[in-house]
Symmetry: C2
Subunit: 131 residues, 2 copies
């Protein structure tokens, strides 16, 4: 290995190992925010479509790095919970970006405009290394 | 727009819009499989570490397109469920790839070697458009 690339390698490896971001690389952790929405009218396709419309607007919050809007898959093993109407999954670089999202005007407007649709939400926030 | 690129654009847009994959591009849907593990010994850091070790092996199932292993974030709003020990999130291109995963030897070995650690799992499978 040439000296120059060896140094770059060591710097990048040490930085990654210590989570210091010495090399200015991508973040080492990922904050996963997963929300399951249960509708007041569980059978209403129209309410579900409205909620999905709202979530597509919510997806524009700038700190969101990745987003997926889903509905229950056809899988039915006993351990699978499938009585929710809509799944809202998003990734953030860190907790601070998720906190910005929570109070972002787009989020507040989403709650104002669409919260009448749901009966309850269950939220799972998880953090772990980015692979 | 030149005729050739206009045609390619129309073809690709129509294909994407109808979900026909006319242009041979990436899949239009994403299958999201999210499992929350609750340990028999919820306070055992050693059991949690063992489970994470197992999940890192499980991550090698070839039909998995993306994987994230996490633990509860420090967020504590009332709607947040945080009594699970480990979050296992993975993406598949489609239901068939998830079914291959369920019966893959690596998965069966994972269950054999590590299932004694958990008390229960809750699974959410969701499908929705790839963005």
């Amino acid at each position: 290995m040439k000296e120059q690339s060896r140094r770059a390698f060591v710097k990048s490896s040490v930085g990654a190992g210590l989570g210091l971001g010495l090399s200015g690389s991508a973040p080492k952790e990922l904050f996963v925010h997963h929300v399951y929405f249960y509708l007041k009218n569980p059978g209403s396709e129209s309410d579900k479509a409205k909620l999905i419309e709202g979530l597509n607007k919510l997806a524009k919050v700038p700190t969101i790095k990745f987003v997926h809007i889903g509905t229950p898959a056809p899988t039915t093993r006993s351990v699978i919970e499938r009585s929710y109407a809509v799944s809202w999954l998003c990734f953030f670089n860190n907790l601070m970006d998720e906190e910005i999202y929570q109070t972002h005007p787009i989020h507040l407007k989403f709650i104002e405009d669409y919260s009448a649709l749901w009966e309850k939400v269950i939220v799972y926030d998880s953090v772990g290394p980015k692979r």
